[in-house]
Symmetry: C2
Subunit: 458 residues, 2 copies
Amino acid sequence: MTDHAIIAELAALLDATQLAAGDAALAFDRDHSDGTGQGVPIAAVFPTSTDQVAAVVRLAAKHGVPIVPQGTRSGLAGGANAVDGCLLLSLEGMTSILSIDVADQVVTTQAGVITFELVRAVAERGLFYPPDPGSWAISTIGGNIATNAGGMRCVKYGVTGDFVRELTVVLASGEIIRTGHRTVKGVAGLDLTSLIVGSEGTLGIVTEATLALLPTPGEPCGVLAAFPSPSQALAAADAIMATGRRPSILEYLDAGTIAAISSFSPSSRLPGGAGAALIIQSDEAGRAAADVEEYAAIALACGATTVDIAQDAAAVDAIMEARRMLHGAMRAVAGASLNEDVSVPRSRLAELLNGIAAIGQNAGVDIFSAGHIGDGNLHPIICFDPADAAAVATANDTYQHVIALAISLGGTASGEHGIGSLKRAHLDAELGPTVRQLQRSVKHAFDPAGLLNPGKKL
Amino acid sequence: MTDHAIIAELAALLDATQLAAGDAALAFDRDHSDGTGQGVPIAAVFPTSTDQVAAVVRLAAKHGVPIVPQGTRSGLAGGANAVDGCLLLSLEGMTSILSIDVADQVVTTQAGVITFELVRAVAERGLFYPPDPGSWAISTIGGNIATNAGGMRCVKYGVTGDFVRELTVVLASGEIIRTGHRTVKGVAGLDLTSLIVGSEGTLGIVTEATLALLPTPGEPCGVLAAFPSPSQALAAADAIMATGRRPSILEYLDAGTIAAISSFSPSSRLPGGAGAALIIQSDEAGRAAADVEEYAAIALACGATTVDIAQDAAAVDAIMEARRMLHGAMRAVAGASLNEDVSVPRSRLAELLNGIAAIGQNAGVDIFSAGHIGDGNLHPIICFDPADAAAVATANDTYQHVIALAISLGGTASGEHGIGSLKRAHLDAELGPTVRQLQRSVKHAFDPAGLLNPGKKL
């Protein structure tokens, strides 16, 4: 069947505004990742209901057309990039929050809702959705589920998957299923919900989700601690994690990222010349200020030169705003960057940072590091001049070395961004051939024709 | 091949003490469940290492012998019961805690370690393993993983699966794989770890696990609140869950279970004539006493007639000891009982309790209820005279009605005990045919010959 005929069939299913065919689809052909390629799609479609998604998938299945599910394409691993001859199936139009259940502390939402919009909507009802990926102002709940997205609050609250109760999923056949349970506990059948979370659209297309919520926590207090060296900051992080408390945020910035943000935004409160910094928060009702005093004392005992305590929301926000400027600041400084997402057991972070420094030195490449030090998830940033082909090649090579280092330390190629097309080459080293084969068998059980997001994740 | 020849091959792999053949195997042919049957095994084996497990599985696979994995057989759903001609593969001999990593807050353990032993061992290093199934003094970590066991602390900390980072698994082929990651976050490949948790030995045999730990929490304080009626206790539980805190324990006892425990153990502090009671705890460091004062005030505002506050460990233990007497007390009162494990969204608990009362009244059967009200997981107990065949039939019928009621309220047949052989009949109603078929396809991807725990879970 010709592309033209397939587009005609799609046009019969959807409104004109829900279909971008041919060249018009190219605007949607990739995500925010660097270092990934994309194919040429037949069309992009924008269904607004689970039934429409199912109808589109049945049509694609009938004609053997690959499907690439998409949210707002804010991903960083190529997971939403087009493959040749595919249908881009965007969930962007599924933007309804279906219900907020205050008594059971759950929200049921369509997949295209922007994460921060959901956070805001449940907050208005006195409830709290903790996962806060850096992209939350632009990424969708469906995309967060597809990648099992993390964020800064994970150190205390866990990742997206920890909050997913039920999923409505369109299978490769076009059948609609509901997985999981609205209840807190439930062990009927195999846990397909957890299997689908993080599967990057390779097992099914998530159209709706019921997510667990918590009561609103206390007003956060925070502290920004500056250290002469990374090792002192690491020691302080270890000591903080060994207390009986879990900080709600425990972020690390190295000298290079501090300097970049400080020069990008001179009004930021970051300690310009520091060798490293920690941002630590507590959101424990009735205890946050005392927690933060304790964290500040630990930082000082570990060699912090300054501790800047934020006792109110405005002061806490000012610190977080500086942290959130990281990628803008790095882009301003470096022209282009490759952003890593490695994770290691926290005890191996010192080796990881030392190893990254050595890799950068050997290659003559600047690598700056920041990230979620409380859970061992670091985002090393490799800077390069995109106009210099040799520099691009060196940066790519360096990127691979950092991933190999993390895996050698008992870590992983991706803590929260996903595998997409960018990191598939590392799965053999990390998982081994037997697990890889088992994963392909599971994929086959869901999608025997291999039409769902081919060439990604697995 | 004859059973005799298979036993001879097993004898060549294992020490004499690791093999019970023929009649000697019958001592291991079932778990603690009522209402489940068992087949006749060929033999029971007691390997002590992953390599021995793999050797046994390869042998069984070669001869097409079904394998039933077992821990200490404390399960309540028939999951560990023999099927005819099977090999009972017990992990009871794998009792080593392999490492406790204080810095990364993880423990790596063999599957046969008793849960409470693990809790105690990590506590000695200042760490905390929260899952506390009622059977923790006799059940194994491997069994807890197989059923995704819950417990009383789940209301705050989550279930067993929430703490599983890595698994060592012997596949149906005898191949050994490692799933998951030692890191807090990790999204490389599909999440086979979560899929295997709760799969009751149908996908693979878990021989080792790395489990996440927390720092030791504060000393718990608690309150035992007595109410005239169940509805008042439910209202208090709702109000407590709506605060910004998560109680570490929130248990419910109805009039019948209170009376049974009080008469079984007159020295218990339970409020003998109450219509319902809640046991509520906080283990928040530096805040537990204040939390419990708040919980007590909420209970009184909801109509509690007495609140008995336990400010020290001895007083807290006395209350918990009474709660833990539940099953002994019911057995003393009732002769025999069927123990349910239904879970519903918390907002449906009132309908569940009312419906159960109606079911009991219609059938002329006593049903008592207690359980983890904070997470909606209730354990209704159906009492009957085991010598009276008609009473046994009525009890079984009643059991099915309670499960159907829970499912109709958006709940599940099992919150934490598992499906085993006992509740398979309910999966169609709960999951529907498409999901059931998908689960069978996943099972087939792991175990194409269907040798792992056949007739269970799925």
